[in-house]
């Protein structure tokens, strides 16, 4: 029992700390809005670490073919989550750039003394909406993949008796 708790703490909880803390901070700041408090970058990075730790742990198994199989699934997980992390960061950079462009345009519009309607038009930017949509898609894929790989890690632990 003690060993199981130790294993879960080391291989499941520890890599998820960035995600757990990030979510907790946003929960305190924004309240319990499930969509808003999840950050796909944190989740994908944490899940990539989790897959890495499971791969290392599986290499300790005496049965080589079983160890190779478990490692294969978790390496696949690492590739997926690192890809999702890169995509999230890239999209966020694009969103930030777009926001800076909007702010610049608003500043220029204000200096030029343009109407409120014109300023509102700048805010209703289609590109921003597109990026937000892309981020939501990445978030969905990260959450689904996260659930799949997290449950498979627990499954591997108890079915194949992964030990420290």
């Amino acid at each position: 029992m003690k060993e199981n708790f130790g294993w879960i703490a080391k291989h499941l909880v520890l890599p998820l700390i960035p995600f757990i803390f990030g979510t907790l901070i946003r929960f305190v700041l924004h309240g319990p809005f499930i969509c808003a408090i999840f950050d796909p970058a944190e989740l994908s990075f944490s899940m990539a670490m989790l897959c890495f730790l499971i791969t290392l742990n599986a290499s300790k198994l005496r049965d080589n073919s079983l160890a190779e199989g478990i490692s294969f699934f978790n390496i696949l997980g690492m590739i997926i989550f690192i890809s999702l992390f890169v995509l999230t960061v890239f999209t966020k950079v694009l969103v930030d750039n777009n926001m800076l462009e909007i702010l610049g345009a608003v500043k220029k519009a204000l200096t030029d003394g343009r109407t409120n309607r014109a300023i509102l038009k700048i805010f209703n930017n289609e590109t921003t909406a597109k990026y937000v949509e892309v981020l939501a898609t990445i978030k969905l894929l990260t959450v689904i993949s996260g659930i799949a790989f997290f449950s498979s890690a627990i499954f591997f632990k108890f079915k194949y008796k992964l030990e420290d």
């Binding site: 005496r62 699934f73 995509l87 890239f90 597109k130 689904i144």
Partner: protein, 312 residues
């Protein structure tokens, strides 16, 4: 072969799919296409997850739950011969309708090892002593029950040198140098205690006491390390196997039991499943002490079948 090809296929195909997936995402972001593209990307991602689930299920079906069995005993008690003959019987007599258990060896190493050892035995030579730092894991797949209620297990029995039992004895120097063997025994789900019947039937009380004390210490440590409460019993089946029973008369079983009464009492009190077995790996030996050309094992499969039935 098919398994390796399947993994190779996945290893080489999946990175390319991911590259395609990533490039389609970047393309999507730069080209600012309509959201129907986004839906197709989500579909692609979900397709990957479905692919993962399918390969995961296939992997789990190929790799049943492992069941580790430890075989404890003093040096030269006949552990390696027991395992060799046991796996030969399981391989050749795989289906046992009486127990509805089907066996099949797992991994080429087990088959190669069993065949090479059997060749030695049938040539009238005893197997070489297992080296102190040597270990070999005999593996087999077992399927119990039928239909949707069938359960598959991957059995693993570690063949360690008998000297390692000293790791359970405080008087032995190996007590201070616990190796993987100790961890293996502690974590195993079935414990087979092997004793040499001839040794126990003999008159050397100090050897009998040493055997009994070591096995008692081993059982106590297993109970302690598995966290079994004082008023509860160890769930792992424990079998006491009297090896080489062809060398003692059948009537002497009670005498043998009396000589190991402390060990038997402990097992009966602290283990939920405990049974004594009389086995002989070769059946009889030639006059010159060598193994016979035709092996006629006695009661060799029963301890394993009994233990497996208690695990289900």
């Amino acid at each position: 072969m098919i398994k390796t090809d399947f993994y190779k296929l996945l290893k080489y195909v999946i990175p390319w799919i991911l590259i395609l997936w990533l490039s389609s995402f970047f393309f999507l972001i730069f080209s600012k296409l309509e959201s129907s593209w986004l839906i197709s990307v989500v579909g692609f991602g979900l397709g990957l997850i479905v692919m993962y689930v399918i390969s995961f299920i296939a992997f789990v079906n190929r790799n049943p739950t492992p069941l580790s069995i430890s075989l404890l005993g003093f040096p030269a008690s006949g552990k390696t011969v027991f395992l060799t003959v046991l796996f030969d019987v399981l391989m050749t007599n795989g289906t046992r309708s009486n127990y509805s258990i089907i066996f099949s060896p797992y991994g080429s190493e087990t088959v190669e090892r069993v065949v090479s050892h059997l060749n030695l035995l049938t040539r009238g030579k005893w197997l070489p002593k297992t080296g102190k730092n040597e270990v070999f894991y005999y593996r087999a797949l077992a399927s119990m029950g039928t239909g949707i209620f069938s359960r598959r297990l991957k059995i693993e029995i570690g063949d360690y040198a008998g000297e390692n039992i000293g790791q359970f004895d405080t008087d032995d120097e190996r007590w201070l140098h616990k190796t993987d063997y100790f961890k293996y025994v502690i974590q195993s789900e079935v414990i087979l205690l092997s004793v040499d019947s001839k040794e126990v039937a003999g008159k050397n009380e100090s050897i009998i006491q040493a055997i009994e004390n070591s096995l008692i210490a081993a059982i106590q440590l297993v109970i302690e390390n598995k966290g079994v409460d004082i008023n509860k019993k160890l769930k792992a089946p424990v079998a006491l196997i009297f090896m080489k029973c062809d060398l003692v008369s059948v009537r002497s079983l009670d005498k043998l039991k009396n000589k190991l009464s402390r060990l038997i009492n402990l097992c009966q009190k602290r283990c939920l499943y405990f049974k004594i077995f009389m086995t002989s790996s070769v059946g009889h030996i030639n006059k010159d002490g060598s193994p016979p050309a035709k092996l006629t094992p006695i009661g060799i499969v029963e301890p394993i079948i009994w233990a497996l039935q208690r695990r289900t």
